[in-house]
């Protein structure tokens, strides 16, 4: 009897149980867009510590550094867009509570993931030359081109591979095997994160059957193939409060409340944590619904 590929569905807690202290974890999406926030919230609630986080950062980075989960942060920026400076990240940097930071150019970051995805130690690049990225990261060195194209043997940045133990990404739809589509305007770099990682855990708005993935969607939108994916979690609204279009836009009102609490007093942040982050994902989503209803009533 023939059987199909295996069913990789799991729970949020199952994903967290696969993570260990000290791991290097890449987080997909981009800034305040399509972040695997349900999984990030679960890490915040867990006992995990000393993580290396690799992210084009938004509130994922903010929440994790505020919770003291991060020993090393690899980033090119951390921003909420409509709130340009992420207050929890700012606070952590200004109080020096992240023991080690690696700030890269955002193109170097892609090149580092590419090198890891291709199992190369580095890839050459022009970005970074002459900038303080190389001053503040003395481990990142240059490489001399063996070729002369008429301009001499160019000395280029040898961007080191950004190898990940685990990648966490959030997409719109997947089947139970890990084939997944993005339905919004931009794939970001979620396939690259997946290929740079030993294992990838995928959260999605909705799990559908395999035929359903492409029934009304172009096949080019299937960004992740199941060979790249270790686990699939259905987390409706799991990217909240980042955007996950066309399923939902960024929740600007909630983001504003988050940023105000993060930039406020210790009591302000404690109140935000108690209200939104103390319980499980279902409790979070219920608290957000109540928050939204209050905002509507205040109009």
């Amino acid at each position: 009897m023939t059987t199909g590929p295996r069913d990789k569905r799991m729970s949020i807690d199952d994903v967290v149980a696969e993570l260990q202290d000290g791991m290097t974890i890449g987080i997909g999406g981009w800034g305040p867009r399509r972040k695997p926030m349900a999984l990030v919230r679960a890490i915040v609630r867990s006992d995990l510590k000393d993580l290396t986080i690799v992210s084009w950062g938004g509130a994922d980075v903010g929440l994790l550094v505020r919770a003291g989960k991060v020993r090393k942060l690899v980033y090119a920026f951390v921003s909420l867009d409509s709130v340009p400076l992420e207050p929890n990240f700012q606070k952590a940097r200004q109080e020096r509570t992240i023991p080690e930071v690696v700030e890269l150019d955002e193109g170097m970051f892609q090149t580092g993931l590419r090198a890891a995805a291709q199992r190369l130690p580095f890839l050459p690049m022009r970005a970074g030359l002459g900038s303080d990225v190389l001053v503040n990261n003395p481990d990142i060195t240059t490489v001399t081109s063996p070729y002369d194209e008429g301009v001499g043997h160019e000395e280029l940045v040898a961007v080191p591979a950004l190898r990940l133990d685990v990648a966490l990404v959030h997409l719109n739809r997947a089947d139970c095997h890990g084939n997944a589509t993005y339905l919004g305007p931009d794939p970001y770099f979620d396939d690259l994160f997946a290929m740079a990682a030993e294992r990838t855990f995928l959260s999605v708005e909705q799990v559908v059957d395999t035929a359903g993935l492409t029934v009304d969607t172009a096949v080019q939108r299937v960004l992740l193939n199941r060979m790249m994916v270790s686990g699939v979690v259905e987390t409706p609204h799991g990217a909240h409060f980042t955007s996950c279009v066309p399923d939902y836009e960024r929740d600007e009102k909630f983001q504003k409340a988050y940023a105000a609490a993060a930039a406020g007093s210790e009591e302000d942040w404690a109140a935000f944590e108690t209200r939104f982050l103390a319980g499980d994902e279902a409790a979070y989503q219920a608290a957000v619904s109540a928050f939204t209803a209050e905002q509507e009533a205040d109009r």
Binding site: E103, E106, G107, R126, L129, G130, S131, G152
Partner: protein, 261 residues
Amino acid sequence: MSTTDSPTTCTRADVCAAAIADAFKDDGEIFASPMGMLPMLGVRLAKLTSNPDLVISDGESLFLAGVPPLFAKGDVVEGWIPFRKVFDVIAYGKRHVMMGATQVDRHGNQNISAIGDFAQPKRQLLGSRGAPGNTANNRTSYWVPKHSPRVFVDQVDIVTGVGPARAAAAGPAASRFNDIHRVVSNLGVFDVNGPDDTLRLLSVHPGVTTEEVQAATGFDLGDLGAVPLTREPTTEELVIIREVLDPRSLRHREVPQEKSQ
């Protein structure tokens, strides 16, 4: 202060928009990437006047065939430019980005990373973003809406965007495509063709004196005796700015309204 819309008067923001448009007029058929409101206005003005070949985006993932007003949705789309392809175009080189600058120094270096010591900054900003890659690969300009000695400093705290002298010191691979084109502020327009590749005041906006620019700049700008005025927008440009691109006068939030003369 007058807020009249007579076509013969213009505001400082209008002058800035035309100066930004001029920064893109000779670029030919390349991807114009404005960061922020006035750069977006200036680029779209250039596309409707001096350089119709410019390729523009919605700032997210679409190339726009038309030229919509600020923050309006475009109608006709001519291409797809997700973030991953932006990096491809940067390396390809057919791009001119106008970024912001929390600090810009006399050597044309830019800082958007942090203020103070990198290990424990006094004020953490965005991070390096794409500035190192931009300045190593494609034409780069800067927009400063509020010119002050805290922005125009002798030396930036952290070099994110690389100026010509730093690029030359880093070797031919760094300087080969380094092209810092213009720094436009609410007071004037600079290039980096001063002595030893330093910032040079090309023009002061109407209503501003060179003394005011020097007083608002944290380093010596040299002899400013022969610096001309920035040109005023033409009537056609003023109509486009006011009637087409920014009928809600959003530009005056970034550069407060005052008559330029």
